[in-house]
Symmetry: C2
């Protein structure tokens, strides 16, 4: 069976352009390995004038995006334009028309996943999004298919390359945050406006998708607490190393007693943890479960080439199923489940306080934690002339209690500043 | 859609037993996540008397293995008995009867893969074997599906936990090979007869499967050169560390100029290579390609629980496709390709010679390599009273030339012994 699949491409930026070159350049290899040929029949872009000069056949390119979806010669729609609008409605339109859709759009999937997945299920066509998390790392398919029979306990992800690059530079070069960010921008790892990356918002969309697939309960982007790396200082990274930790921006998806928690925040992880060695812009996902123990997936988390490879894998998969001519069942179903508010999740804290180096200050601080119901695991003081860095690491306690303790600390006269708060990630519960 | 799938199980050992407990214990979770229920309808074992006391309903268990395959209530056959016979013919019988088959049998797939895959293709049913390589690590599906559009350059695998455990003990505890092997046996990581593991034969079957899927050209078990770890000494592991390397038993699948090479041998890999940190019985697969750069997959490579999870993932996948009622296309097609004999593959060698510490010996050794066309990268001599360890690391040269050099070295009077030969694995070509 050798069949040509008509592709409608939405978006022709870095990923779209790379994909088109690959479909042309590797056509023979793809065909010999899969028996499929892909023929790009329409390419939709939002702004024709801004379009980079890919040598598209005249008539291929359009800014009438619905035309791409509606074109009867388009069998399969590939959305690599990003953003919520108009990508979401275009995908819905394609799925409702019974066309399989491949998307790399984490933001959209985290926002409208259930609606789009339901539309795909109703039409019996695949809706695949391997490229939405972890770029070129195969993670969506292993998580939702290979591990479908595993009761996953926890997924930890370094799912944003920009922030991991910045933290790696801060850790290995002792660079300040601003300096490391500038370097990331110069090297093209960070956007001119880096907010989506450094605030943890990008990672939160990915954590929402990972949690949903891992636990089979839909977790929306609004359910994921996120905190960025803007406040991380080289001082804290130094202390972390002294204590045997490294600071990473981690997406944490876990099953806790009361339900499911998904969140993104900087975390200290032990130096011997497999994620501790993930350097630079590399991404990695670490999955823990009762039977698989732990699995590590690591690789390039972004970039046109790896992302296009992930999209292409989905295209091959979808084409295979579609050519079989059957109504395919969805790969995962979601059931209702309890989502736990971040305030109710227990975490361990590292708190660095700047204090006046006077007798009695430690007792007051200890009371502040104790009154809030937070137990202290260890205390470390590093003195200056009159001011000292006082570091407290707590035992696990609900965020709510930890924050209450922090509020009471800020009222202590001798505490002149709260330098920083970083959560400490322990072993699996 | 809620459908019950009738399972025929071939083999009820560790993996089969674990699988049955999981199908019962996790039935509700599996059903809510996938919409499927699995009902074990027949269980075939070769020896009823040896059968461990699983509480199978009377009539479920049989030693008439064809009955399991032929039972009309069996929709899907799961083969976890291992070995070539009778597993191979039973699987063929099931596929020819249009029943999907899941197998964890690396030996069989490496031996009869093309025949079984062709039978599955002819009947339009899935034949899946995620558990055959890397146990609980999802690697078959990512390699054959997600990366179907990637022209993979090289796959390196630590795919045998027993040997990795032994080498880790030798490296970290300075244990001798025999001591580490005994420890592995005591802990259940090695069989009483450890030959299949320590000889590299087990890893060779897995390397054959990895190479076949990575390159889309079938590589049979007989095409994979293999060499075990029996001759590795703590002395060599010590030298390796001094030079910044660690010794691992590696399955190497690579595209070289003349074609495809797949082989298994102990190799020195640089300490900063992602595979260098894979300790104990853990398995890992490292994939290199032009667009994905490098991907690492790591996790438990064996054991009833992880293997059963991989089998279960395949069962869910196959059931999904089968319920769609379509003739499904195979996930990968194989094309003819050139396989390169190991003698023609270029490798770097570490050679440790025991020599009489006399003037002129180095010149003779250098000539031995030079005459065979092998260039020396570095030489290190560590003297004793009259005997010295002389270590030579070469530049890449065809195995044939390296072996010729070794033969000529053995004729030099001052070379009293050839201590060991270990290949050195460089960066991707």
């Amino acid at each position: 069976m050798e069949r040509s699949i008509g592709i409608g491409l939405l978006g022709a930026g870095t990923v779209g352009g790379t994909l088109v070159s690959r479909l042309i350049g590797d056509a023979e290899a793809i065909s010999s390995k899969t028996g499929l040929t892909f023929d790009v029949r329409r390419v939709g872009v939002q702004n024709l004038e801004k379009q980079r000069p890919f040598s598209f056949t005249p008539g291929l390119l359009t800014d009438q995006l619905e035309e791409v979806v509606d074109d009867p010669s388009v069998d399969l729609v590939v959305e690599v334009m990003g953003g919520l609008d108009p990508a979401g409605d275009l995908i819905l339109r394609a799925l409702e028309a019974g066309k399989p859709v491949i998307s790399a759009n984490k933001e959209l999937i985290a926002a409208r996943g259930p609606e789009l997945i339901a539309a795909a299920e109703k039409s019996g066509v695949p809706f695949l999004f391997e490229a939405a998390v972890g770029g070129g790392i195969p993670i969506i398919r292993p998580l939702s298919e290979t591990l479908a029979g595993e009761k996953i306990d926890r997924v930890l992800g370094i799912v944003n390359g920009t922030t991991n690059f910045i933290l790696t530079q801060m850790s290995e070069q002792g660079a300040a945050y601003d300096v490391a960010l500038k370097e990331a921008q110069t090297l093209g790892y960070a956007e001119p406006d880096p907010t989506a990356d450094v605030s943890g918002a990008d990672a939160a969309a990915k954590a929402a998708i990972l949690a949903s697939l891992a636990f089979g309960t839909w977790v929306g982007i609004g359910d994921v607490y996120h905190e960025g790396i803007e406040a991380i200082t080289a001082v804290d990274i130094g202390f972390a190393e002294d204590f045997g930790y490294v600071v990473k921006l981690i997406g944490v998806c876990e099953r806790v007693e009361a339900g499911i928690s998904a969140r993104v925040h900087p975390a200290m992880i032990p130096l011997d943890h497999p994620l501790a060695g993930i350097r630079g812009a590399t991404n990695a996902i670490f999955i823990e479960g009762p039977t698989i123990e732990s699995l590590l997936f690591a690789g390039p988390g972004a970039g046109g080439d790896p992302t296009a490879t992930a999209v292409l894998g989905d295209m091959i998969d979808a084409a295979r199923e579609t050519l079989a001519g059957a109504q395919v069942a969805p790969r995962i179903r979601f059931s209702p489940g309890e989502l736990v508010a971040f305030e109710d999740v227990s975490t361990e804290w590292y708190v660095r306080l700047i204090v006046d180096d006077k007798p009695g200050v430690l007792a007051k601080i200890a009371s502040g934690f104790g009154d809030a119901g937070v137990s202290i695991r260890s205390v470390w003081q590093e003195g200056g002339e009159t001011k000292a860095d006082l570091i407290v690491v707590t035992y696990p306690a609900p965020e709510r209690a930890q924050r209450e303790a922090l509020r009471s600390l800020s009222t202590i006269d001798e505490v002149t500043d709260i330098g920083s708060v970083i959560r400490v990630l322990g072993p699996s519960r």
